[in-house]
Amino acid sequence: MIDSLLLPLCFLLLLALLAALWRCRNLSDSARSNRAAAQSLKRLSLVASRTTNGVVITDAEGRVEWVNDGFTRITGYGLEEVRGRKPGSVLQGAQTDPATVARLGAALRRAESCEAELLNFKRNGQPYWIQVSVDPMWDEQGRLQGFMGIETDISARKAAEAKLGASVQHSQAVLDNVIDGIITIDGRGVVASFNRAAESIFGYPASAVIGRNVNMLMPEPYRSEHDNYLHNYQHSGMARVIGIGREVTGLRQDGGTFQMELSVTEITRDEQPFYIGLVRDITERKRLEQMKREFIATVSHELRTPLTSIRGALGLVASGTLAAAPEQLAQLIGIAHKNSERLTHLINDLLDMEKMAAGGMRFDMRVQPLMPLIDQSLEAIRSYGEPCGVSFHLIARADDVAVCVDAQRLLQVMANLLSNAAKFSPAGGEVEISVIRHDPWVRVAVRDHGGGIPASFHDQIFNKFCQADASDTRQSGGTGLGLAISKELVERMQGRIGFESREGDGAMFHVDLSLARAADSTAAVMSPSCEIVGAPRLLVVEDNREVSDLLVLMLQRAGFNADAAYDGTTALALIAERSYAAITLDLLLPDRSGVSIIQQLRGDPATAQLPIIVLSAHLDGGRLALNGELNAIDWLEKPIDEARLLASVRNAIPRTALRDEQARVLHVEDDVDLHRIVAAISRDIAQFDHASTLAEARDCLQRVRYEVVMLDLDLPDGSGWELVPQLHALDPAPKVIILSASETSALKAESVVAALVKSRLSNEALLATLRRLIQ
């Protein structure tokens, strides 16, 4: 780039000379001075024409008298196009900064020199940035002759500046949003930068830290050590932190200290060392590690205790020491046996907790009457409680109540509550159980008259291994996990658990379960499972029983009620009887095509708005695999919006097709004019074939492989829908864009959604789509 400041200055000089000569053009004493002048003029003209800068000479009013080739190259305007006009009127545009223009104008009016950066427009309308310096020209009498403007095209520089600015903004955004604190310091430890995360970790705004020594962020003794450390490092090159990462203590603005993980790297900038520190607040991590350590210590203690008895007892038995002491032999064997049981329970409980935490526990939730389960748990506990003389009384029943629970797990909860009550009851004591309905809940309560739970334990009662009075429960073989597990189980079954107790006054534990309506047994096709009161109801239309069951289960787990229909006729009958929020529909049904069902539903005003999700599912290794055998169907309403059409077609065409060759699109449309319009709109991105009937379309499909098929629903020999199964059978299946005809235009595209899901749809995506439709 040769346009530095120096160059314009040289030209100023040269052109001043040129101007002078220009003025002198009519003065000539002798032919020799004429010739010399002409020669200089010629040379200067050559220079003026060769320079890449644009030069404009105007008269005193600012109207162009002369421009050089450089000007024409830059702006696209020749001399004749601009002569007599003001440069501004030709070159400036709407986006030229008015303030700059005003400043230039003012300078010109005062006949002063001026410099500016300006946005101009070329002849072809293209904008470009120039740096222009304008100077007035005076004659010997001091009168204003005109102005000279020298322009340098700085578009490239401006573009680079903008890009740099964007890049800086981007880097700053990254720095601002990173979770770890990033602090940079120079070789003396002075903080050069301090990102947002660092601000929130340490509690200082960046302004309070930048420029100060980084050791303000450290407590003693690290603070004093840090300067030494930096100094030693710089002189010895030995790193103790650099590149290694360490756990150190940080000092917050409020004076508090905390554990942090620090890693430091060194960079060189302008030949100076800088250090970039990454800070992560590990207080939380440390806390979790500590909790884990405590838990492991507690569990290992809990496990070792019964093991001590087992090992001790069996060791003695095995040694033969007790050969002559049969009573003691029997006692020790009994001890070993009892503690083996205890250990088993403990380990089972631990595993249960782990399984629940990891989400691995399967609940077999069924609607069933509640009382039989309560009666069953009472029978079981009576054999346990009898020896201590503890008696159990059911003081209130609710025989008309059904709940949606996993029977096994509910029994486990009841066993825990009842055995706790027995353990804490005095000998000969009584435990009362009541089942009372409080719509929409039913409450099962277990009340004992033992020592009660001290207030200090009320918060921890459901924690693992919390035992208010360790000796009592240990003697009776408690694991310390019973209540923790019960709470988890109850909550998984959508219930609540709680208690009331005062020290000395016993305790009452209660479990609240949601009432359920027993499943309607008349519809043979309905799954036997629960009904969740108030949840939206969906119909799953799928003939494969296993797949249907799994789909229903998945929907129920997600909080929906779901019915199943195994064929089209039943599906339609159910839809007529009950109100569904949405249906999932397999296109291939035994008695009629899914497509015909969609048509029938759409044709009936009562169901025209029913959201339908066309879904094809099969079992893959015992799990549900949702597949789109058809790729996304897009809906376009007529009259066609050009932009929307282009976007649809573009989206539908696979990228590879766009790159390599023109994609082929089949447009099935009986309106020829419409076809022409659509083809014209999309001519740049695809090659269009036209079919005006279903028969023609089928023909085309057999001969050519299409990436996209655009379907009009109203065809002379049928509906575009009928083509869908054939499209689905193709491999690879083309993407489908449906141009919805006038009778369906009343329906909004969203609410109709025959949403054909893309291949390998996740369950989450299906559920999300369902939820969106139902809102």
């Binding site: 070792r304 205790t305 007892a313 020790l332 240990r474």
Partner: protein
């Protein structure tokens, strides 16, 4: 060297009490007194004439370390050697128990056939010093 004859065992778990009793009486030939709490032990130790105390760590009420401190605070019991028995055997914990002045820490679960021998050996070490 005085003979080790009477051992006071402080342990709240009844099953473990039974095992210790057999291990020390039948296998070791010692006289054993069992207490289920630290307080009971403090009350019984002098009357029983314990030569050595086997002390569980995790007990309701007074735990092992508290019981040891109480023993050390009384002139008539301060000199009786104490061995801790515990399932809490993380290194830091063991160091803590030793720092309280225990003679040793025996881990649970223990081997009932060697318990008596181990305790005897510790007794001899203690008196050899």
């Amino acid at each position: 060297m005085p003979q080790l004859e009477r051992i006071l065992c402080v342990e709240d778990e009844a099953d473990i009490q039974a095992v210790i009793q057999v291990a020390l009486e039948m296998v070791g030939g010692f006289q054993v007194k069992l207490c289920a709490t630290g307080q009971a032990a403090l009350d019984a130790v002098v009357g029983f004439g314990a030569d050595l105390i086997l002390l569980d760590v995790m007990m309701p009420g007074m735990d092992g370390p508290s019981t040891l401190r109480a023993l050390r605070a009384r002139p008539d019991t301060a000199a009786i050697p104490v061995i801790f028995m515990t399932a809490r055997v993380q290194p830091a914990e063991v160091a803590g128990f030793m720092a309280l002045g225990a003679l040793a820490v025996i881990a649970k679960p223990f081997d009932p056939m060697t318990l008596a021998r181990e305790i005897e050996a510790l007794w001899q070490q203690h008196h050899a010093i």
